[in-house]
Symmetry: D2
Subunit: 135 residues, 4 copies
Amino acid sequence: MTAEQVQVLIRAGVPMADDMDLRIDRLDERGALARVPFQAKLVRPGGTLSGPTIMALADAAMYAVVLGSLGRVEMAVTSSLNINFLAKPKPVDLIAEARILKLSRRQAVCEVSLFSAGEEGELVAHVTGTYALPL
Amino acid sequence: MTAEQVQVLIRAGVPMADDMDLRIDRLDERGALARVPFQAKLVRPGGTLSGPTIMALADAAMYAVVLGSLGRVEMAVTSSLNINFLAKPKPVDLIAEARILKLSRRQAVCEVSLFSAGEEGELVAHVTGTYALPL
Amino acid sequence: MTAEQVQVLIRAGVPMADDMDLRIDRLDERGALARVPFQAKLVRPGGTLSGPTIMALADAAMYAVVLGSLGRVEMAVTSSLNINFLAKPKPVDLIAEARILKLSRRQAVCEVSLFSAGEEGELVAHVTGTYALPL
Amino acid sequence: MTAEQVQVLIRAGVPMADDMDLRIDRLDERGALARVPFQAKLVRPGGTLSGPTIMALADAAMYAVVLGSLGRVEMAVTSSLNINFLAKPKPVDLIAEARILKLSRRQAVCEVSLFSAGEEGELVAHVTGTYALPL
């Protein structure tokens, strides 16, 4: 699947992703680049993007890289996610770069690096997660 | 802080929580019970509540239990979160029960059990997470 | 399998567990109690039991509860483990209480509470982990 | 501190590391390379290196990179560790490459990639972890 096809599929199937204006900017077999444009409604106290927004973007980026690698496995589901929040996001677009660490018949283990647009050198958060694959 | 005060504070500070109609049903020093009423806009492919909805509820329940224990520390921030998704949520309210495993000067380590309303015996997800506390 | 059978099986198959004098004190379908007697060779700087000792005990307790529940599935393997270290262990036996949060055909998700003998009220560490099951 | 100094310090303070013949092969401000030579006593059923061996090596590699970056902060302690086991290690040396994702006054968040010697392309395990720093 292409980046555009995955973006359409996710936004059609997950209203919250559509509401967040989720973008899949790039997708190939091993990596996905996903993005959430900054919006006031996505903040937490302090005015920065909320933790759940960051987790939602990371999860979407993992889903994208799984679909990019395996094709239309819509029923792949997150089975675990571990996140470390490392720095306050800036009030700009948030970007997630996901890659597959290991793909087996049962699951995909992914890693996601998240950063503010224009600040690639400083991680906002780091995620590892697993998607269970339909057998 | 009371359950009602925390609910008001979270929904005022986090538009996404307000949009999800987040409820804090119970709060005392060691535990919080939070709830998200089922809404079609919170689903993922398959029609069940999405992973990000589940993570957002768990995060809110941890925030509630921290505020319930320490008072109005609005700038407490999630520093890590680990979730295992265990079963598909039913198309009913999702409930999160959070408790503090360890409270130190620097951080609160919390555990959250999530289940579908009326199905307390079967976990939908299990979370551990840490909140960094303002010194 | 009984607690004694599992203890024998683990110590025969895992020399490090034998070297740590690992004990399985109790085992039934839903829970296991494992223990490492305090030994000077298991410490880290500061004189307390090392992190790897704590993780090894937690992993053994999970393995025990899986064997206790499913029988002799020796080739069950840890697929993930998440630990939060909460307090320094005392220079006494360390105890791990494991239970299964969710058992499916593919995996067992477990939770382990660790504490110093005689200090059941204060957690030394908290673990969640998954064991992949041979199909 | 140099790789050699850190190796000496860890093996003097942690008997289990000495027993595992832990090596610190390389160390600079941002990264550490640690190694455990294959030994029969470190196996689990199936003959491969045990999970606790892998976790112990990852923890030592994180400790090394923290000492390499901050100097002799012996009382830095692991506060959390998350591991995904990805492939069976080969019966050869196991190597851990650790780097710091984020260093703050309170803690260091690290990432560790583990692989069998000569098999750099295939991860055996992936770890993220945090070390709490003495204030």
